[in-house]
């Protein structure tokens, strides 16, 4: 199948280096300490953060905050409506990935004897749910006022028809080609997450990764804008 037309356009009309439209909104769940909705094209994810709060399992109390994450997909999120069992392998793996990525950024030593729960749910799935979940979780954590080293942003990139493509959608994702998901700390310039399906020559991996980094940075800029506006608004609305 042809994923990039001779004119250099992808199936959904994007250029190879183009990202989908992104949109973020803070404060979607009123009872949570922090929450956010993040959209990348047709992928839509909601995240809620509870905590830092008392550790539920007393035996896990430590000098660092305990971070827990639960990823789930809504039944209506995919094309065919499927009943998904809660603890399937895919969602367990993604929960773990998100937990590790966020834990690397949270300053857990400042929050002893407490736990932070992150719940992410995919409302619409169209490829790149992993990245969207991480971006949503970052926003929700920032909204909850949890101290972090840096924002974490994530973006995926792939390689199809000998072209590197940024931000794969569902059709491109299911083509079976290489799919690199990258998570970075933009200010520290460090990688916290790197996953790849399938195989890729090492020199091409470099270029694909570079492309993904560019994507992550673009998302970081957008998230910064949203957060700054939110902070300003909270401050002036509160009054003196």
């Amino acid at each position: 199948m042809e994923y990039v037309s001779p004119e250099g356009l992808r199936l959904d009309g994007r250029r190879p280096m183009e990202m989908r439209q992104i949109r973020a909104e803070i404060g979607a769940v009123s009872k949570a300490d922090g929450s956010a909705i993040f959209e990348m094209g047709n992928t839509k994810v909601i995240a809620a953060v509870y905590g830092p709060r008392e550790v539920q399992n007393r035996s896990q109390i430590s000098n660092h905050a305990l971070v827990r994450c639960e990823y789930s997909m809504a039944n209506f999120s995919t094309g065919d409506r499927m009943r998904k069992s809660k603890g399937d392998r895919r969602s367990t793996e993604i929960s773990l990935v998100i937990r590790q990525t966020m834990e690397a950024a949270i300053l857990t030593h400042l929050l002893p004897r407490s736990q932070i729960d992150i719940y992410v749910q995919v409302l619409q799935a169209d490829g790149g749910t992993r990245s969207a979940c991480i971006n949503a979780a970052t926003l929700a954590l920032a909204d909850a006022g949890i101290p972090m080293r840096d924002l974490v942003t994530s973006c995926s990139a792939g390689y199809l028809n000998s072209t590197s493509l940024l931000d794969l959608n569902y059709v491109e994702d299911s083509a079976g080609g290489p799919d690199v998901t990258l998570g970075i700390l933009p200010k520290l310039d460090k990688v916290t997450l790197l996953q790849m399906d399938s195989k890729l020559p090492i020199d091409i991996l470099e270029t694909v990764m570079q492309l993904a980094i560019e994507g992550c940075k673009a998302i970081a800029n957008y998230i910064r804008e949203i957060l700054l506006e939110n902070t300003k608004q909270l401050e002036y609305r509160r009054g003196v």
């Binding site: 803070i26 008392e54 920032a142 909204d143 909850a144 972090m148 080293r149 924002l151 910064r224 608004q233």
Partner: protein, 325 residues
């Protein structure tokens, strides 16, 4: 950006937008660029020496923020005051909590902090007002004082090795009855001289806990239980049984008028919470008076029209305050 979640008509939307813009222009100009978000570097003068406070970290010699909030500077100290985070206790704060567990010699209270707070049996006045050593019998009778899910008002005592300790060594602290508990983001509550308020005209008590829990309840006269206790002891034990229960009934009954005022005050707090305005007594009173003067029903106070009106009034109030200065 955090939107105000209200079903607004077109005109209301325009009015709210205008009011919010007005509020933005009213906020102090000095602080306009003090908002920072995670990983923003904070400009500091390194020659003077810098003390890094809460919400800041060091990155290659640069001071960066670790939370979203507002930069505050006190002499050499630079810190970030975070908005929308959980309550950060300070010694002497008046807080309201909910009992989550009755444990050995202590209650565990949820006070919206990183961990549950501890209220020791020994750090509170007994309801009978007698000062004495707490016996094993007192320990067994702890559930008579506070049970699970009771709402309790107390004061922050400080950090001990096993967490945050509270104390309730005065008549004004203790179990809260016959009212509503509301929870708002703690950054909306400013520490003040007075957190206990008695609204005489409505016959209600308003306790604004520093942890963002707000209590609205029927006014209770802080009477001296000790005296009463002696009287009841001296009374002959042959009191008629049904007369006691009648008295008890009367004590448990709140008149409709007061209940209505409680709901009105609670809704005023809810409106402020929706709009995320600061909670103070005068503002809450202002909203109750506004709703009364407009003859609004209690449920209508949560409608979008009233919210927009409150926002407009608040903008007016702040601008007049500013002119006075």
């Amino acid at each position: 950006m955090r939107r105000i979640q209200l079903p607004l008509s077109q005109t209301q939307k325009v009015r709210l937008q205008k009011t919010l813009e007005q509020l933005e222009s009213l906020s102090s100009k000095v602080n306009s660029d003090a908002s920072v978000i995670i990983a923003d570097s904070i400009p500091v003068n390194h020659e003077d020496g810098v003390l890094k406070g809460h919400g800041t970290a060091d990155l290659n010699g640069e001071v960066v923020a670790t939370v979203c909030g507002v930069v505050e500077r006190v002499n050499k100290l630079v810190y970030v005051r975070s908005l929308r985070s959980r309550y950060k206790p300070e010694v002497g704060d008046i807080v309201i909590g909910r009992v989550v567990e009755v444990a050995q010699k202590r209650w565990r209270l949820d006070i919206n902090f990183n961990q549950d707070a501890v209220l020791m049996l020994s750090s509170m006045n007994m309801p009978d007002g007698v000062q004495r050593r707490r016996t094993a019998l007192d320990e067994l009778n702890m559930r008579c004082i506070f049970e699970e899910n009771d709402v309790v008002c107390a004061e922050v005592r400080g950090f001990q090795h096993d967490g945050l300790h509270l104390q309730a060594r005065s008549r004004k602290y203790g179990k809260l009855n016959r009212g509503q508990l509301l929870s708002v983001p703690p950054y909306l509550v400013k520490r003040q001289k007075q957190h206990f308020h008695h609204l005489e005209e409505f016959g209600i008590d308003l306790i604004i806990g520093c942890n963002g829990f707000i209590w609205v309840g029927e006014h209770i006269e802080a009477k001296d239980d000790m005296v009463e206790d002696q009287v009841s002891q001296s009374d002959p034990q042959v009191l008629l049984h049904n007369s006691v229960s009648l008295e008890e009934q009367e004590r448990n009954y709140t008149i409709l008028e007061t209940r209505k005022y409680i709901c009105r005050a609670a809704n005023a707090v809810r409106v402020l919470s929706i709009l995320s305005f600061n909670m103070t007594l005068e503002i809450i009173k202002g909203i109750i008076d506004l709703s009364l003067s407009m003859n609004l029903d209690i449920h209508e106070m949560l409608g979008s029209e009233f919210c927009v009106l409150v926002a407009e009034k608040e903008a007016e109030r702040r601008s007049s305050n500013k002119k006075k200065r």
